[in-house]
């Protein structure tokens, strides 16, 4: 039987359907118009019309991060495509499987500075895992199948497919499955047996081991294998910003988050360790602080699916390239066989760490201006919502408090922009998460600065019945920048005042804004109103909810390792550093 002849546009929709795509976030325009026509008839794909392409990109990211599936966004050429750039860069930094489809001007016009022409393949080259420019209809199925394969396998990441308008309008036989020819793409997933043995040996010998867990555990869905490893060896676990939820916070072995705003026990565990069992983490500068003084006494086992991460920042004594799920399965078997139910004796190490836990728990002081404490608000959101909820944060102080004060029990429950630090991530990411997981309660925990970057997607949420909850932690300023100005710029507040607080010009009034978007808007200024507002938000599912929590602007994120300094300089409150019993510190 002869193959069906489809237009390129029809082939795009058909290919996406066959690749299992069910939801797309996008916004049409001239160069992608042909594709939007057959998209209208698809019964398998739900297209959600966003209000700004950046929203489509972050929504696709939130969709992917909440579900582990591929996120898909679509935009037109030129400015439509460039509006996706921030989200693509974000997905690249945080290894999010993302497919971005953009329309391009006719292939005959490429290079002529045509209307709405932008070289989006060129622009996104440094921030994509790969990209394609399609100029012929017959190439569409093969390119889309390749793009999805690349985005979702190995180390996941964003792939851009730029499709010229005449390729969408052209006709070709539709051949499925298409030929996927990627001779240069062979991600290694199975670890080397000798390296597994070498890792097991180091683990058995270690006196002060730490499981340094990164976002790779979440992307590899290896949380159960991690839990098993932790139980076999009894070592402490630290979960980076990208790995919150990869290991249950309720587990007594979890010391919390390491890094610039990590807990004193987690930061110190890495610093004083003699073996870092590094799992899908990349020694980010926000974790290591000054690299040359980071964990100087530690040997390193480094497991990553991306060989380029191994040895990039820190030498690995035992490098293991592979998929964490496979690596940990083999490592657990090796260790279980070697240890036969016994555990390495690390009682002294636990004694040291437990003492730190007692002396330096996470905490906060009440704001002096009598306003709500942001940490209290975020804690209550976490406690009332429970571990099955999804929390998507923006970037800044509220993000750090959300990472610190919400207890995460499962992977994919914590979504944030970790590597790129993209303000404006939260609302659209929460929207995408809610589309992927409609049964779950989804919170966007946002700042007043971040919220103003992407809140237009509340219109998308209201119209498409995507009832997310937005908690604005409103301190009327760019809080994290302000914190640095307080600490490092003599409290000179250059351009960080946003005037969104109740005792300011209050532009905009977030409650009125919420109402204008068809959301339920609630303002909370007193501690006794907090629980009732959160509960009302949780009960309201006929529209999105926005709660404007008016919080103290002088609250700061602690602990903190000042940028560029050694992790030994961790402060658990302003100018207060932990006291070391062994007198190593001054």
């Amino acid at each position: 039987m002869a193959n069906e002849v489809l237009t390129g546009a029809q082939a795009i929709v058909r290919s996406l359907e066959l690749l299992g795509v069910t939801d797309i976030f996008g916004l049409p325009g001239g160069a992608i118009l042909p594709t939007y026509d057959p998209l209208m008839d698809s019964t398998k794909i739900r297209h959600i019309l966003v209000r700004h392409e950046q929203g489509a990109g972050h929504a696709a990211e939130g969709y992917a991060s909440a579900s582990g599936k591929l996120g898909v966004c679509i935009a037109t050429s030129g400015p439509g495509a460039t509006n996706l750039v921030t989200a693509i860069a974000d997905a690249h930094m945080d290894s999010v499987p993302l497919l971005a489809i953009t329309g391009q001007v006719n292939s005959t016009s490429i290079g002529t500075d045509a209307f709405q022409e932008a070289d989006i393949v060129g622009i996104t080259m440094p921030i994509t895992k790969h990209s394609f420019l399609v100029t012929k209809a017959e190439d569409i199925p093969g390119v889309l199948a390749s793009a999805v394969l690349i985005a979702t396998t190995g180390r996941p990441g964003p792939v851009l497919v730029d499709i010229a308008k005449d390729a969408q309008n052209g006709k070709a036989e539709f051949v499925w499955p298409p030929r996927v020819d990627l001779p240069g793409y062979k991600p290694v997933t199975k670890p080397h047996g000798k390296q597994i043995q070498a890792a097991a040996q180091l683990i058995k010998e270690a006196k002060r081991p730490v499981l340094y867990v990164g976002g790779g555990i979440v992307r590899s869905r290896a949380n159960l294998e991690l839990l098993e490893l932790a139980k076999i060896i009894g070592a402490p676990v630290v979960t980076t910003l990208m790995a919150r939820g990869a290991f249950p916070d309720s587990d007594p072995q979890n010391l919390g988050m390491p890094g610039m705003h990590g807990t004193v026990p987690a930061v110190t565990a890495l610093q004083r360790s003699d073996l870092l069992i590094t799992l899908g983490a990349r020694f980010d500068d926000r974790v290591t602080g000054q690299v040359k003084t980071f964990a100087v006494g530690a040997k390193v086992i480094h497991v990553d699916i991306d060989p380029a991460e191994i040895g990039k920042i820190r030498f690995a004594d035992v490098p293991i390239v592979g998929d964490l799920k496979e690596v940990l399965t083999e490592l657990n078997a090796e260790l279980a066989n070697d240890l036969k139910g016994t555990k390495p004796d690390i009682a002294e190490w636990w004694g040291f760490l437990n003492d730190l836990r007692t002396r330096y728990p996470l905490g906060y002081t009440e704001p002096e201006d009598g306003k709500l404490s942001p940490q209290f608000v975020i804690s209550r959101i976490g406690e009332l919502s429970g571990p099955e909820a999804i929390f998507a944060a923006g970037v800044g102080q509220h993000q750090m408090w959300s990472a610190q004060f919400i207890k995460y029990e499962r992977p994919n429950s914590w979504l944030n922009s970790g590597g790129a630090g993209t303000m404006g991530y939260s609302v659209p990411a929460a929207m995408g998460a809610k589309v992927a997981q409609p049964e779950r309660l989804v919170w966007a925990i946002d700042g007043d600065g971040c919220f103003q970057m992407t809140n237009q997607e509340l219109a998308t949420c209201t119209i498409n019945n995507i009832p997310i909850k937005v908690a604005i932690i409103n301190n009327s300023s760019l809080g994290m920048v302000r914190q640095w100005q307080t600490l490092f710029y003599n409290s000179r507040y250059s351009n960080t005042d946003l005037n969104t607080g109740t005792d300011t010009m209050m532009v905009p009034d977030f409650v009125k804004l919420a109402e204008a978007y068809g959301c339920l808007g609630i303002r909370v200024e007193k501690e006794e109103e907090v629980d009732a507002a959160i509960k009302l938000a949780m009960e309201t599912n006929d529209r999105p909810v926005v709660i404007d929590f008016i919080v103290g602007r002088d609250a700061m994120v602690w602990p903190m390792v000042p940028a560029g300094l050694s992790n030994d300089a961790v402060q658990f409150a302003r100018d207060e550093r932990p006291v070391w019993e062994d007198g190593e510190e001054e």
């Binding site: 393949v121 060129g122 790969h130 240069g184 991306d306 380029a308 040895g311 990039k312």
Partner: protein, 169 residues
């Protein structure tokens, strides 16, 4: 600062050179020389890159290059098992008095004259970088009007073939 010769077997795709060159630039590595061309296999090209590494391990470059989807194989060519050649075209000022001296240098360096004008010669020379540099030194006093050169071309000695090895896999 150390120099390394990398040989890349790549898919011949639009934008490939931008991907490779861009990667070097954004990861902070300097390209000293670059030569690109098609190979004996249709659809495959070879890129020979001379890269200087300062402080950063070469391993980072090769690993990052390997991550490019259109790069099939990256090999570092070690000097002792590699044949390297530069190719240059040099336009030298000559007159009746100097022409015979220039021609003598051409013979000594086993170069070739490929164009003759009344006041200039174009000379073609091939060889290792050091030889070509020495030849330039000799010609300089006569006046070099123009010089163009290829990047370094390099290939492993013996019968082994990177392309064959890759295609077999």
């Amino acid at each position: 600062m150390s120099q390394h010769v990398l040989s890349l077997l790549v898919e011949d795709r639009p934008g490939l050179l931008t991907r490779v060159a861009g990667l070097f630039a954004r990861r902070g590595f300097n390209i000293e020389s670059l030569a690109v061309g098609t190979t004996e296999v249709e659809g495959l090209s070879r890129i020979t890159v001379v890269v200087s590494v300062d402080g950063l391990p070469l391993e980072q470059v090769t690993k990052q290059l390997n991550k490019l989807i259109n790069v099939i194989k990256v090999v570092e060519l070690e000097p002792e098992t590699t044949v390297e050649r530069d190719h240059m075209l040099i336009k030298v000022k000559t007159d009746a008095a100097t022409r015979s001296q220039v021609l003598e240098a051409v013979t000594l360096f086993r170069a070739r004259v490929i164009d003759v004008a009344s006041d200039a010669l174009i000379i073609e020379v091939t060889g290792e970088t050091a030889k070509c540099q020495a030849f330039i030194k000799v010609l300089e006093p006569f006046g070099i009007k123009e010089l163009v050169q290829s990047g370094v071309l390099a290939i492993g000695r013996g019968s082994k073939s990177i392309t064959e090895k890759v295609l077999k896999q």
